[in-house]
């Protein structure tokens, strides 16, 4: 679609106050007025406070947080379904906040597509006509629309259902229509607000697989909201954790699981199956010198569980962890790996957490 490389999304010093007189309180909020104080003294709700997130092109940014933490508010700023009280939202270098009505409409048509928690399909249109909606709004000719829509319906596994109405479909299928509708737009940014939260675990896992498989080809910049940590860890190249409208930690899944910023995050990650998340680098013995790898090697970025599987089927020996260029980084033993799995805050055994990640 875009002739030039897409520039990613940058959110800078974004504040949102809900209420009739939001602008009047922005200064005091910037000077440290808390959410509770703002609500009690002025009857305004602090939606977001000083959000700074950079999302490189082609990555999946997950935003996590409990209910009411401001996730939906944040994602709606990216296509300006909600106007910020102050701050910048740069999408491909252009500030969405400053766009005129017409520019914004054009931006939404060409640059973003959205998938909703409650699907938000048009009940009076069949699957095919729902899928073409974005293209229709863009004013593309009928034949192009139908072809594109059919292609995406096939991609999400809905071939043969084109003529069905949304309420003839299961939740998982409806959400696949939602996904096809968004993908048909071929916009560089894909916004997914708890797109999978209404689905049961097995279908959810299927949908995650569909998304990850598709992402290998389409390379969209995806903002994905969830309050499920397993989902976040599985999908997210980067994860940001929100609480009461503030980002309290951002980083990769490794950062979040291994170095939770505070108790709130630690509480989030305590039940996670570390064996499937933590990479071998985190437990290996770093190499002091530059000794050549002797014996079996394992790639950096392998999860502990995967490494254990490789080790138990191989010879009883230390294994060298190597980076993609083959440079050795450290050594790891079966004992260390096993230790890392059970030391997971001593709370949950891996097998108990396993079903959540099934599929």
């Amino acid at each position: 679609m875009a002739e030039h490389a897409f520039g990613g999304i940058k959110i800078r010093e974004l504040y949102k106050i809900f209420g009739p007189n939001a602008a009047a309180h922005i200064e005091s909020v910037k000077n440290g007025l808390t959410k509770t104080e703002l609500n009690e003294k002025h009857g305004h709700v602090l939606g977001l406070r000083d959000i700074n997130i950079e999302i490189p092109s082609g990555r999946i940014q997950v935003i996590m947080g409990l209910s009411g933490s401001g996730k939906s508010t944040l994602i709606r700023h990216i296509n300006r379904l909600i106007d910020p009280t102050s701050g910048e939202v740069l999408v491909d270098g252009v500030d969405v906040v400053k766009m005129s009505e017409t520019d914004l409409r054009e931006f939404r048509r060409q640059q973003t597509a959205m998938v909703f928690q409650k699907f938000a399909l048009l009940p009076h249109r069949n699957v095919l006509d729902n899928t073409v909606f974005g293209l229709e709004v863009q004013g593309l000719p009928q034949s192009v629309r139908a072809d594109t829509a059919m292609r995406w319906l096939e991609q999400v596994g809905l071939k043969g259902f084109e003529q069905k109405y949304p309420n003839q479909l299961s939740g998982g299928m409806q959400q696949r229509v939602g996904l096809a509708r968004a993908l048909a737009n071929d916009a560089p940014v894909l916004l997914m607000d708890e797109a999978y939260s209404a689905l049961d675990p097995l279908i959810r896992s299927d949908m995650q697989t569909i998304l990850l498989d598709l992402q290998k080809e389409i390379k969209k910049t995806i903002v994905f909201i969830t309050h499920d940590l397993d989902e976040a860890l599985r999908l997210g190249d980067q994860i940001a954790i929100l609480r009461d409208g503030e980002v309290i930690q951002q980083g990769t899944s490794q950062d979040i699981v291994l170095r939770p910023a505070d108790d709130y995050v630690a509480n989030f990650v305590k039940d996670v199956n570390r064996g499937r998340v933590v990479h071998v680098e985190a437990v290996m013995q770093p190499l002091a010198g530059h000794a050549a790898p002797s014996g079996p090697t394992i790639a950096a970025g392998t999860t502990i569980e995967e490494a254990v599987r490789l080790l138990v089927s191989g010879p009883e020996k230390d294994v060298t962890v190597v980076d993609p260029t083959g440079k050795p980084l450290g050594v790891v033993t079966l004992r260390q790996l096993a230790g890392a799995i059970v030391s997971a805050h001593g709370t949950t055994s891996p097998s108990a957490a396993a079903p959540a990640m099934a599929g």
């Binding site: 296509n79 379904l81 597509a113 959205m114 938000a120 009940p123 009076h124 863009q138 309420n167 737009n185």
Partner: protein
């Protein structure tokens, strides 16, 4: 203590001259603008006459077939089509065919007019709470004001005839059209509207691709009610010269012809039921997509 038992009303003379002043003002208005207003309404007159002529001059078997065909197209229900057929045959057999056709023509024009005026007003109302606050009381007045009362100014302006009758009927019958259009649009799911916004739909695209289609079942209910109210108004409208089933009823009241009144009354009921069943079944068919819920 006189004021306690008898309401201290406005001075008789003052009241009389107030009424007189208003009456005279209106009369003066009628004298100077009556012709212009009549001219403005002449397209309506042509429309009415054309509809009337079509219904009364087309041979009856063709009309029956036409109505049955419309009923079939709208409902796909053989029982309803059969019901229409039998009702029309009975009406014809009891020699009320011409009056019934005139009434149907009148109702048809009223309904078209109510839709053409009511839906845009309903849309405006749904878009702004302020407009809603202004229009709602007007609709209340239109619905509760005894219809005889607004016949007076209409007759003063336009005289006796079809067009004033039409206007009176439309005033009486249009409020549900407006209200239900407004309601239908306001009831459209916010999530779906947000999705339309997120895909960059313009206001017009949202209206025609999302709001109106989703409000359609409610709007259909409005059309149904409008038709029913128009039929109820037909007898009153016949007092100012609207031809059709209302006139024999009036005659029956004046002369105490019980059977004449009864037959024509039943004919009105008959076509009311036809209109009602057909429009309701059509409305239901429109929302078929809502019925089949995934189990």
């Amino acid at each position: 203590m006189d004021w306690f038992y008898k309401f201290p009303h406005m001075n008789d003379d003052a009241l009389r001259s107030l009424k007189k002043a208003i009456d005279e003002g209106f009369r003066a208005f009628t004298r100077s603008y009556g012709d212009t207003i009549e001219f403005l309404f002449s397209p309506l007159q042509h429309f009415l006459i054309a509809a009337d002529r079509f219904m009364t001059q087309t041979p009856w078997p063709i009309i029956i077939l036409l109505i049955a065909a419309i009923a079939w197209a709208a409902t796909r229900n053989l029982r309803i089509v059969g019901g229409c057929f039998v009702t029309l045959l009975l009406i014809g057999y009891f020699d009320m065919w011409d009056d019934t056709m005139r009434t149907i023509a009148m109702i048809f024009v009223c309904t078209v007019l109510s839709i053409a005026i009511g839906i845009p007003i309903g849309i405006l109302m749904s878009r702004s709470n302020r407009v809603q606050r202004v229009i709602n009381p007007i609709l209340d007045v239109m619905q509760t004001m005894p219809s005889f009362v607004y016949l007076i100014p209409v007759v003063m302006l336009l005289g006796i005839g079809k067009v004033p009758g039409l206007i009176a009927v439309v005033i009486y019958a249009i409020p549900p059209m407006i209200r239900l259009t407004d309601l239908g649009i306001r009831l459209v799911d916010r999530d779906v509207l947000e999705a339309a916004d997120a895909f960059g739909a313009s206001g017009k695209q949202k209206l025609f691709k999302v709001q109106l289609p989703l409000a359609l079942p409610t709007i259909m209910a409005g059309i149904n009610q409008t038709i029913m109210m128009a039929l109820a108004m037909v007898v009153i409208a016949s007092m100012i010269g609207v031809q059709g089933l209302g006139q024999p009823v009036l005659k029956a009241i004046a002369n105490q012809y019980f059977t004449l009144g009864m037959f024509n009354g039943l004919a009105i009921v008959g076509i009311a039921i036809i209109f009602d069943r057909v429009s309701q079944a059509y409305g239901k068919r429109l929302q078929k997509h809502r019925e089949i819920v995934h189990g």
